[in-house]
């Protein structure tokens, strides 16, 4: 039920001290949504205890209390519907899965370090590569970006919470259980799924993948798609309805732009994956033959369905990362983003094109050459808006006052590595060349340059950048720099030689090889590089542990940043803001600083 807001000015509860006081009383964390531009259409939506809300009731003692049992330290987190806590839960859980997926990757690199190794072979290796890929895509990059979105979107647009806080909590718990189920499949009959993260039919059919590994993989992905879908709808509704007064689309932080597009893509393509998974489950459990060619089904259909989801998924994982970079580079270059509109609209262009390129994953299937030609041209086209972004970031650094704090290092690392990943993609888009390099380590290198050197580096940039906002303390700068250089060197050592391996003929997803010479050397360097990255992650972990108690306290705005999340305290109180300025540009905090400066000058 909705209560009409007070007309004209900000409601009293927003301008008076609600934040910390309310939290001390254990008040529900998300009670209201913020105001929109138009006062007449402003609605204040009660989220908990409908009916108990009025301007008076919210002041002081009359505020409705949470049940006693939800106030405990643990219970508070378990029952939270606060977007900031959910965001942090998302991020920490994803980092946990990142550690798990990373350990699996280290095991695989150990197996491949030398020829004819016997460390992790056959089914164990195939299971490892499946769980590694599924983890990194579905349990790390997508949800950690959802975590950033959860924490930041309401703060950046000046809202008090997400539009549907309880739906938000549901998303998180579905995600967590989806992940737990995936890892529980290690204990299933015949072990986990072993068909790769793409689980191509008919290999994933019951005849070739007996046991329950694939069934649990399907269940896990079903839960994760539901989580993402609910989250995406929540983001869309929040961004469309809860922006602060004055925040038009051209004043929206670029990260929020990318979350908007991320959510839109999820809503458009996740149903395809869900449908495909359901058909596969029916094949496996009820004897239908959707993907069984021997009984009239089509193996290629699965590939179409999977990649119709799967390629936009790549941009789902990359666009918000680009949004993070677009937030960080201007702040650490002390300049506005170069070409705000170009950066925002190139996001839209990439998202649109990303729905038209899926069959470039299927060039070797033997599709009619006209289809291949279409998907080649559309894939090439996507390089144009991507290039626009890279050039705009570079132009942003031009003549800036570049400050190399860890967020900036990782953001610049993103540009360096993502450029490499983007350019190697052009080889894959040209389908005759793709016939040589597809399904080899060249593709493995390419996708890691995009998703690890790209998305994960941006995610680390974001972690260093917003950590003080989330926890009130800065991460240590020197450890952060050590982390960056270990990751940067380790990353290139791991994945640069994989391009060469692929071109020399090393196919993907093999647990062993017999070749010596350069093959052996490249593989060994690659494995050593993965170890260096592992050390880098330990440095990051040490940084988190050390600074959790002794870190420098961050003020509201340690970086002198541009966007609204730095207007409130670190960490922000329940309800986020006491009051908000009218937004007059895409950089409201810089506007405020300048106004203050002018006032002081007088």
């Amino acid at each position: 039920m909705a209560v009409k807001g007070l007309s004209g000015e900000w409601p009293r509860w927003m301008t008076r001290g609600t934040g910390r006081e309310a939290r001390k009383q254990g008040a529900p964390i998300s009670r209201h949504t913020g105001a929109t531009e138009d006062a007449a259409s402003r609605r204040v939506t009660p989220v908990r205890r409908p009916g108990s809300l009025s301007g008076q009731a919210l002041d002081g003692e009359a505020y409705p209390a949470q049940p006693q049992w939800t106030r405990g330290r643990v219970a508070g987190w378990l029952t939270t519907v606060d977007h900031k806590r959910i965001g942090i839960l998302y991020i920490l859980t994803s980092l946990g899965f990142f550690a798990a997926g990373g350990i699996i990757a280290l095991l695989m690199r150990s197996q491949l370090a030398t020829p004819n190794e016997h460390f992790l072979t056959k089914d164990s290796y195939n299971g490892a590569l499946t769980i590694h890929g599924t983890t990194m895509v579905f349990l790390v990059v997508v949800p950690i970006l959802a975590g950033f979105g959860n924490f930041l979107v309401p703060l950046m647009i000046g809202a008090r919470d997400m539009a549907f806080p309880r739906l938000n909590a549901l998303s998180y718990w579905l995600f967590l259980f989806g992940g737990v189920i995936l890892y529980a499949s290690f204990f299933a009959k015949h072990g986990p799924a072993r068909c790769g993260w793409t689980c191509y039919a008919p290999l994933s059919e019951i005849a070739y993948s007996p046991g329950h590994g694939v069934d649990l993989w399907i269940l896990s992905l079903h839960l994760l798609t539901l989580a993402s879908l609910a989250g995406a709808i929540n983001f869309l509704v929040t961004i469309h309805n809860l922006r602060a007064r004055g925040m038009g689309w051209m004043r929206l932080p670029l990260f929020v732009w990318t979350i908007e597009i991320y959510a839109l893509l999820l809503v458009l393509v996740l149903p395809a994956l869900s449908a495909g998974l359901t058909l596969l489950l029916l094949d496996r459990q009820t004897g239908t033959h959707f993907f069984v060619p021997q009984h009239g089904g089509s193996a290629v259909l699965w590939q179409h369905v999977f990649w119709f989801f799967g390629h936009p998924e790549v941009y789902i994982m990359v666009l918000p990362a680009m949004g993070i970079v677009s937030e960080i580079i201007p702040v650490f270059a002390r300049k506005p983003i170069f070409g705000y509109k170009a950066v925002a609209f190139s996001t839209v262009a990439i998202a649109f094109l990303s729905m038209l390129v899926w069959a470039h994953h299927m060039f070797a299937v033997g599709l009619p050459w006209g289809l291949n030609a279409f998907f080649m041209v559309s894939s090439m086209a996507i390089a144009v808006p991507t290039g626009v972004k890279i050039f705009n970031w570079l132009a942003t650094t031009w003549r800036g006052n570049l400050i190399f704090d860890p967020p900036m290092l990782f953001a610049l690392g993103f540009i360096a590595l993502f450029t490499m990943g983007g350019l190697s993609g052009i080889f894959l888009a040209a389908f005759p060349v793709d016939w040589q390099v597809t399904d080899t380590y060249y593709v493995v290198a390419h996708l890691h340059y995009v998703l690890f050197g790209g998305s994960m580096f941006a995610i680390f940039a974001g972690l260093y950048y917003w950590w003080p906002k989330m926890f009130g303390r800065l991460l240590d700068g020197r450890l952060g720099k050590a982390h960056f250089w270990l990751m940067f060197v380790g990353f290139n050592m791991t994945f640069l030689p994989q391009h060469m391996l692929g071109l020399m003929g090393m196919e993907r997803r093999i647990y062993t090889y017999r070749e010596h010479g350069l093959w052996e050397w490249y593989n060994l360097v690659s494995s050593i590089g993965s170890g260096i990255m592992a050390v880098g992650m330990l440095v990051f972990l040490a940084n988190v542990v050390v600074t959790s108690r002794r870190g420098v306290r961050a003020g509201n705005d340690p970086w002198l940043a541009d966007t609204l999340e730095w207007y409130t305290t670190s960490p922000p109180p329940a309800g986020n803001f006491d009051s908000l300025p009218y937004i007059t540009s895409a950089r409201p905090l810089r506007d405020l600083r300048r106004r203050l400066q002018d006032a002081n000058a007088l």
């Binding site: 195939n126 072993r194 191509y200 008919p202 290999l203 070739y208 060619p293 021997q294 089904g297 193996a299 270059a333 300049k335 170069f338 070409g339 070797a364 299937v365 033997g366 050459w369 080649m376 041209v377 090439m380 144009v384 290039g387 626009v388 890279i390 050039f391 705009n392 132009a395 650094t397 031009w398 003549r399 800036g400 006052n401 570049l402 400050i403 190399f404 360096a416 450029t419 350019l423 052009i426 080889f427 040209a430 389908f431 005759p432 060349v433 016939w435 040589q436 597809t438 399904d439 720099k481 250089w485 391009h499 060469m500 071109l503 020399m504 003929g505 196919e507 997803r509 350069l518 002198l560």
Partner: protein, 330 residues
């Protein structure tokens, strides 16, 4: 902190030096597809090098700009409050760096389409001696070849040099992908589809066949060879295939059975065969090979009785009596 950009530069130089050293060491060294030995592979490489030239130039441009800006505009101890010039954009620049990539991509696309017919189209049959039609069946986890005269081979395809070889590929089980890096790109072998590819090997030699699509537990060892031989050797190869089955039996055992049961039947993924009493019953054995049993796929589903009998005889003669188990089945 100020030295970091230089560290990056040094690293970049080091990586380049390593790369060049690698390239010098061994042919293409992995910086291009393997030396092509077939016209279609040659044309693919042409396209590769064209794309490499363009993307290499863009790569150098972007990374150099990045490094130069990082060095040139580093803070040098200026306080955070010092702002750079508040430049919000430049429409003409934006148009330029949108248009130039469009032109480059159009050039790449045009060149690829120009090369495409020579890559995908099987040359007409009027080339010297016509073309050789080979049927390829991809199985878990072996390749079976059917020659124009009806004889078969497993994991080893023997073809004459300088003849167009046209492959028709099918799979009775899961998706595989045919790949001989020196003789052209991949083509997936997908159940329910019939795919085609071709090559014309220009040099005698042995070329590795790889399965490039994850096809199950032994995907990594689904390897084979293309043996390119002079025309006369090809004829005598086919003659020998007709005359006796011993080679086929050995190939079949090593390509099909040994990958799971070990080269001496000592067992591995599958149970130990050496000394197994089950090998004595020809009928039961034939049934198992044709239909599979338990985790064992129906490996012999598409074999003719000649091949089936040959491998059963081989099993009884060489494997049943083998001591087995002593040596690892490398």
């Amino acid at each position: 902190m100020r030295r970091k950009p230089f560290v990056a530069t040094i690293l970049l130089v080091l990586v380049c030096a390593l790369a060049l050293a690698g390239a010098a060491l061994a042919g293409t060294g992995g910086f291009a597809p393997p030396t092509p030995r077939s016209p279609n592979a040659q044309r693919t490489n042409d396209a590769y090098y064209l794309i490499l030239a363009f993307t290499g130039a863009i790569f150098l441009l972007v990374e150099t700009a990045l490094v130069v800006f990082v060095i040139r505009f580093r803070s040098r101890g200026r306080p955070r409050t010092v702002e750079g010039p508040q430049i919000r954009g430049h429409t003409r620049l934006e148009i330029i760096w949108t248009a130039i990539p469009v032109v480059i991509l159009a050039a790449i696309t045009g060149f690829v389409f120009y090369k495409l017919p020579g890559i995908k189209n099987v040359p007409a049959a009027n080339a010297a001696g016509g073309r050789i039609e080979i049927g390829v069946e991809a199985h878990q986890f072996y390749w079976q070849f059917r020659y124009p005269d009806g004889s078969t081979s497993v994991d080893e395809l023997t073809v004459p040099v300088d003849r167009n070889v046209h492959l028709t590929l099918t799979s009775p089980d899961v998706a595989h992908s045919w790949w001989v890096p020196s003789l052209g790109g991949k083509i997936d072998v997908i159940p329910g589809r019939t795919n085609h590819t071709w090559f014309r090997a220009q040099q005698n030699g042995v070329y590795r066949i790889r399965c490039a699509e994850l096809c199950g537990i032994q995907h990594a060892v689904m390897l084979g060879f293309v043996r390119v031989v002079p025309q006369s050797d090809y004829a005598s190869f086919l003659g020998a295939r007709h005359a006796k089955t011993a080679d086929l039996a050995r190939e079949t055992y090593q390509g099909v059975c040994a990958k799971c049961h070990g080269f001496k039947g000592e067992g591995g993924i599958g149970p130990k065969l050496a000394g197994s009493a089950g090998l004595n019953d020809r009928t039961a054995l034939a049934k198992t090979i044709r239909n599979g049993i338990g985790m064992m796929p129906p490996v012999g589903r598409t074999w003719d009785s000649r091949q089936l009998n040959a491998v059963i005889t081989y099993l009884q003669k060489h494997v049943a009596s083998s001591a087995g188990g002593a040596a690892g089945g490398g």
